[in-house]
Amino acid sequence: MTMLEVTDLSVSFRTQAGTVRAVDKMNFSVAPGQTLAIVGESGSGKSQTVMAAMGLLANNGEVEGSVKFDGRELIGMKSGDLNKIRGQDMAMIFQDPMTSLNPYLRVEDQMVEVLMFHKNMKRKEAIDRSEEMLKTVHLPDPRRILRRYPHELSGGQRQRVMIAMALLCDPKVLIADEPTTALDVTVQAQMLKLFAELTDKFNTALIIITHDLGVVAGLADEMMVMYAGRVVEKGSVDELFYDPRHPYTFGLLHSTPHVQQGRDRLAPIKGLPPNLTNLPPGCAFNPRCAFRFDRCVKERPALIVREHNRLSACFYEGEMTEHDMEEDLVHDREKDVAAT
């Protein structure tokens, strides 16, 4: 059973520099109680993918493909109908809670509005429900929080208010875009616990966008790695962490300092991510790839099924070791420079 099914979703933006394809032919789905992580660096298209799915793209954005929620097509749906689904069945949590809460309204008014619109509740009833939801996200003294304006709350409190708002109508799909990036690590730990509770207790389907592999490892069932607008690898969290097949996934894992490890030298990915208006020929990752060969420069690798449900988009089939990524420093610097 799938709750959200995305098929061949592409997003382009018309810009002064020409049309930029931010997301190219994405396919994924999430089932109730499951967590899918979308991983990638800035500009990889991970946020635009979910913005397109929610119908929240900027005006110069164009969407192709299909996004089905519980069997209903969302792309091209009238905004009135879409609004009934958004906020009720599908909710979203943004990275920066300060910019996504209305600074002029008390928490109470923002929360009550959602319930009065979607659930036709009376104000009194809506306030009680809001208070209950603030308790669910472990905010102490919810009655007092309801009377506050967003600027009167701390970052962690605001993020929890955002989450509580997203949960008000018991959404079936919750999309969280870097939900803990702006938070301190002890508060982040509280939030991650809360997300795990949601999928367990309420059977919510969760899509979490993050660049933090620690968050992915602790929370997700499946993960999808994006590079330059495309999925380069997809599979279960264990498969991708312990047996990555794409050199970019491999590189990300080895670029990440581990808290349980000491001071070994990191094996970073060389160079810089490409400019989307001017992608290299062949595989978009080839200029930075330690394993590339002739074919990678000529042809773009398709995302193909490897075994059971895992996918990867790479021609290289040999083994990958950290040693392959290490080169002497001089070489490093030349490559960094060459990438600009």
Binding site: E41, S42, P140, S154, G155, G156, Q157, D184, V185, T186, V187, Q188, A189, Q190, L192, K193, H211, D212, L213, G214, V215, V216, A217, G218, V237, D238, F241, Y242, G251, L252, L253, H254, S255, T256, P257, H258, V259, Q260, Q261, G262, R263, R265, L266, A267, P268, I269, K270, L272, P273, L329, D332, R333, D336, V337, T340
Partner: protein, 342 residues
């Protein structure tokens, strides 16, 4: 690094208070950002400073470099107290003491070329150098940080975040400093670029014999770079320990909680891992709790914690921790709890 390694910098009882406006007719409130902090930095080591937002780590760094004037305490640099330096003496000392900032693009003047930005410290700190010498030095530095010397006439907006940080590093290196304060130098960068910059800093440290103070909120990064680590909570030292000691055997309850809160980038370990989610958030530094600042969130707090400010004590691991109960907690972690596990 051993006991004989000479001490480069010695910070003694450093304190910084800020006055916070409290309406037109009320007395301003006082926020103590750095509260009686003492530690030393040995030549050639990397000292990490960690803590959550608002714990005073940046203010501490800036007080050391005299970019902010501390209210109390001494900063002994090579035997002399920086807080007593005249402006002129301080300017000379800046040749040795440099800083790298968090936001690489915001810390570079957009109207100056890369060459001008990197040469800027030389113009003020090494006036004896002529234009050609400066130009030569800038090229050397660009090469050292992995920037093509041909880019010398470009402007900051033409560079990505990672490259902009390289420019910031070249600027810090150009005067040939002994100590560099790195204030969240990789926090704004993507993972792959972050790894490049961390490796670059490690190489430059060896190449130029640098001593680093590395401020970060990211405990994985700090562990990766530091020899010793200072954990701050609300402007006070919670624990100061060798890096490995801190991560393997933390003694202060805050260090323990902080370390278990870091997500582990390994799915199997992450599933077994029990996070001790601390309740609540850091209290307001304007109105901190009495006694130990951490007691409001500490699972081991007792009445006495509200009565006395815990002094830094040397623990069995050799670390220094400011907790009156560290030994009891160590002996029986479950029995010492005063708040049940969730």
């Amino acid at each position: 690094m051993n006991d004989q390694t000479p001490i480069l910098l010695n910070v003694q009882n450093l304190t910084k208070r800020f006055a916070i406006a409290n309406g037109l007719f009320n007395k301003p409130l006082t926020l103590t950002a750095v509260d009686d902090v003492s530690f030393s930095v040995k030549r050639g080591e990397t000292l990490g400073i960690v803590g959550e937002s608002g714990c005073g780590k940046s203010t501490l760094g800036r007080c050391i470099l005299q970019l902010i004037e501390p209210d109390d305490g001494k900063v002994i640099w090579l035997g002399r107290d920086l807080t007593e330096f005249s402006k002129d003496e301080m300017r000379k000392a800046r040749t040795d003491l440099q800083i790298i900032f968090q936001d690489p693009l915001a810390s570079l003047n957009p109207r100056m070329t890369v060459g001008e930005i990197i040469a800027d410290p030389l113009r003020t700190l090494k006036p004896e150098m002529n234009r050609e010498q400066r130009r030569q030095r800038v090229r050397e530095m660009m090469d050292a940080v992995g920037l093509l010397p041909e880019m010398i006439n470009r402007y900051p907006h033409e560079f990505s975040g990672g490259q902009a940080q390289r420019i910031g590093i070249a600027r810090a290196l150009v005067t040939g400093p002994k100590l560099i304060l790195c204030d969240e130098p990789v926090s704004a960068l993507d993972v792959s670029i972050q790894a490049q910059i961390l490796n670059l800093l490690a190489d430059l440290k060896d190449e130029f014999g640098l001593t680093l103070i590395f401020i970060s909120h990211d405990l994985s990064v700090v562990r990766h770079v530091s020899d010793r680590i200072l954990v701050l909570y609300l402007g006070r030292i919670a624990e100061l320990a060798e890096s490995e000691t801190l991560y393997n055997d933390p003694r202060h309850p805050y260090s323990r909680a902080l370390l278990t809160a870091v997500p582990i980038a390994d799915p199997k370990l992450a599933r077994q891992h029990v996070t001790e989610a601390l309740e609540g958030e850091i209290p307001s530094p304007i109105n901190p709790p009495s006694g130990c600042y951490f007691r409001t969130r500490c699972p081991y707090a007792i009445d006495r914690c509200a009565q006395i400010v815990p002094p830094l004590e040397t623990t069995d691991t050799g670390s220094e921790a400011s907790c009156i109960r560290w030994a009891e907690i160590q002996a029986d972690p479950e029995g010492a709890r005063t708040r049940p596990r969730e």
